[in-house]
Point group: C2
Chain length 640, copies 2
Amino acid sequence: MDRYRVIFWPDGKEAVVEEDAIILEAGNVAGVHINNLCGGEGVCGQCKVRITKGIVEKSTKSVSLLSREEIQQGYVLACQTSVRDNLEVEIPVEARLEGEQILTEGETLMFSIPEEIEKPPQEEGGVSFYSPLTTKMHLKLPFPTLEDNLSDLERIYREIQRKVKISDPEIELHKIRGLARTLRKNEMSVTVTLGRKNNNFKIIQIEGGDTSKRNFGIALDIGTTTVVAQLVDMNSKEILGTKASHNRQSRYGEDVISRIIYACNRNGMEPLNKAVIGNIGDLVKSLAREKRVDLDEITAVMAAGNTTMTHLLLGLEPCFIRTEPYIPTATSFPVMKASDVWIPAHPDGFFGVLPCVSSYVGGDVTAGVLASGMGDSSKISMLMDLGTNGEIVVGNNEWLVCCSASVGPAFEGGGLKCGMRATQGAIQRVSISNDHVNYSTIGNVKPYGICGSGVIDVMSELFKNKWIQPDGKFNAEKANSRVRETVEGQEFIIARAGESEGGKDVVITEYDIGNLIKSKGAVYAAATVLTKSVGIDFQSIDRVFVAGGFGNYLNIEKAIMIGLLPDLSLERFQFIGNSSLSGARMALMSNHAFEKAQEIAKRMTYFELSVNQDFMNEFIAALFLPHTNQNLFPSLRGLI
Amino acid sequence: MDRYRVIFWPDGKEAVVEEDAIILEAGNVAGVHINNLCGGEGVCGQCKVRITKGIVEKSTKSVSLLSREEIQQGYVLACQTSVRDNLEVEIPVEARLEGEQILTEGETLMFSIPEEIEKPPQEEGGVSFYSPLTTKMHLKLPFPTLEDNLSDLERIYREIQRKVKISDPEIELHKIRGLARTLRKNEMSVTVTLGRKNNNFKIIQIEGGDTSKRNFGIALDIGTTTVVAQLVDMNSKEILGTKASHNRQSRYGEDVISRIIYACNRNGMEPLNKAVIGNIGDLVKSLAREKRVDLDEITAVMAAGNTTMTHLLLGLEPCFIRTEPYIPTATSFPVMKASDVWIPAHPDGFFGVLPCVSSYVGGDVTAGVLASGMGDSSKISMLMDLGTNGEIVVGNNEWLVCCSASVGPAFEGGGLKCGMRATQGAIQRVSISNDHVNYSTIGNVKPYGICGSGVIDVMSELFKNKWIQPDGKFNAEKANSRVRETVEGQEFIIARAGESEGGKDVVITEYDIGNLIKSKGAVYAAATVLTKSVGIDFQSIDRVFVAGGFGNYLNIEKAIMIGLLPDLSLERFQFIGNSSLSGARMALMSNHAFEKAQEIAKRMTYFELSVNQDFMNEFIAALFLPHTNQNLFPSLRGLI
């Protein structure tokens, strides 16, 4: 079979693939990533690429999702186009995941992880109370004699116990088969991978020789919208790389409810499960390839996600999450094997999932509480995790309460006319002065759309400059060339077509602003009801941790100005980015942290808001900028 | 396809089978058992049956293993003959396992199991420290509400913990899949099967409704010669049935050494492993069928066997057991699943194996120490387990020492001219007075051969009556019609052809007696060296437990007379039959006993005799009746 070279631009990375390979696969081989919402089914049109050299056949599907103009310019769908020539392919900004700035705590973590976890006190031999989920240990066994005639397996146990004080670890039968020869072929030198489940240890594998330097783990954040994977060196604790992709389940519904409905239809579970497993598989394989790690060297995986995402990942029925009284199948999960869920790693590698609290407060929130350290402090803190759902946690080392409200996708850049995720080309900061709009984009490139943090900025600036009124309507007096009337209502032009990457105006519409007011109102109302439920007010809260997929930036002051965050002094706030991923990584790297997560999940008391009349009242009161009760925002008094 | 009826005589049991079914299989279906040493390969000739009605085709193999006379009488090999007609089949005594008296402690146990294990103090809910390996628990869960919105799995945990004080049990992912529907289909009524591994519990299955009354277990004794299975009701602790068969591995070698050699040849492991798994499978299926137990209702299996048998059962390399310094792959074994080794039971049912001590002291001996209770007593006891290997244990609740000596198959009826296992038709008791021989057979039928206990009797009677001399040679003065000269030397006729089932004399030859002297000498020498090694003599031993496959009878006095057992007063001896099976059953029925077995195995100190010069000296000194040093047998002074 003929082989062809495909060069991808602007990176110049290349792949040599067999005839009829799909361009999308060639991209995988080359290590460049092409947006692919529908999992390669040719229905989302996200993977448009332009052929700049070489000849391809255009598929019918490819053609139907492209404009005549695009076809003339050489655009095709990467998932529908086979390689039958040496090609050069340009990946346009909207199809690139490469430069994506999805929040990964490695890049953005601004708060400190408790020192004990980051730098655990090492006992001799390296397995301490703070040891990671898996540890490799090189053993040089003494050769057996008539006097020292312990069996092979007990000889291994004895040597482990000479290094660390543990009782006999568990082991599966198939690991013992062939052990006699492995030992004798390697002159009694072996490396044992020990997995830890609470206080029990298990031998995951026994390799000949010394492989102890090669032990890797994966932390996963399984978001409704985005899946993030992080490759970690289990010995040095170094983060080797982080990759993210759009959750392929999106084609079955944008929010958890529509996915539950899909999953609970006949045969609906399998495609949803396969979609997210496919996401994870591609991310892990791509990280491993780039960092030259064998998949078998990945011996531990830890995932955090909301309750529905966790159910779909594990293949658990999510059906009763949706209907009163909202019961998930499980909120705590056994430590599994990577192969139980088809994650590409050592098949017997440990796979852990952070525990959930209830149907609408998941392992991502447990991870956030863990990562923020709020469960360890005697002072009261609040965690606000703002994704498609907004979860609020309030508490300290004695008590924790939590609730969840449907927020909509606006803060993740979804559901807005020009919204986009926090990736390259997204407007993330906006300021307006003297009718002049200043903005900056992720990657400092031409703007393509606007992400969550940009949306908060633009709203607060519009409000501050009185372009919009407290009810979110445009101010007729301010009408000028930046505000225009369309068939769908008024909209404000942030970046003009001439400045933008896509050649179109980047705008925010009155309808967008209405949606954003509902989103911020839901968050504020939830936080209000939750604090009231424990008899405190916002002033009693010492620290507020804000987490979410806003990008790597959030202007707290502007978020207060639109009434999203309570009006507290700025130094009480801390933006902690993707705390779901940081929490997962902490549990991966420290059994102590994993146990703490289990304790946190059990300790959190869940308040169900869906049937709460107070919440409805508070929500309605919050549908104003910043709020119908301006006394709640004293610092804005001069402004309003 | 046509179906035919096959009636088996003398039982009259019948089976309807499809055309071309093998007669051996038809026997399985009918629930009658036909001896089948070679696993149905047509090479051992053990499964001769006589067709008394109907027509069969005689296979070439069938014919080559039968005499012309047998062929004329209608004999065929059951394993080589297809059913193509309605048949009546007579199973001759030598091909029948049905009436086999292989020792099973249910029938022969004469000593008491510690009461705590037999009648454990029940905590509320039935899971006590003395609980069996698996327990079924019916749970009626409260329906979830908005106030009581625990997940399905945590709801089950809570209900279990209301009954018994345990932490959250382990569970495998696939058990949780579908749980939501199981609960709601059964109106929140489920039965949980809890398996116990030391202090950890695991949920083996969750069934809809109340199935708690149906929970069964299997105890297994995997002997080199014989495999015994026992079906137990895990609730009532009642033994429902016991079945035994010849270990099909015998075709690859009669003793452990020849089987190790076979297993360590290319591809040698698989047939040996399959052979014993086949044994177990047939026994379990047959017990289940007879007692109307579904295989899925068998949730626990516990096996005991010598170290080599345990390795071959689990598929572990036994290769280094055979060569100095004699190292097994493992002596302790994880609790596995029945499906890990293809035992027909609930696929996730717990499968435990009693721990071994060393290459030549196995789980059967651990079981014997457990069953005898000698490890609990402050007084010193000795266990003598006399099979193809003889294992001796001496000790008390503070120390235990053990050793093993190759004894040969004589005490199991093997390797003798007319030897047979302790099954129907075997001469088991013999007395000689005034040149007259009295004997009795198992099943009180015509004698077909002689088993271990009969052999000990006849030797001691010949010695007492001076038919043989202390060196085992026949006394020329006593020569008469019962002693005759053959080309192979002299032999003594125990039963004449006219009285016997096979129509041949049942004899014991001078060569047989020579072999038996070596066997008894090895046992006595091993016991001597072991007691000396701890600085005591036989008189310090309070109790002697004798275990082994002698049949359900052993005359201690006569065993002392030939110098097999030390010369202690008779009340110190206790014959405990198949203590390997009783120990396995105890560990199956009591986690406390299983833990105790693990403690016993770790506590036993092994003495290697193969390189011990003392042992060689003692062995040579013991090659006399009763011993070269007659002072060791003061009670026989009058006789000798």
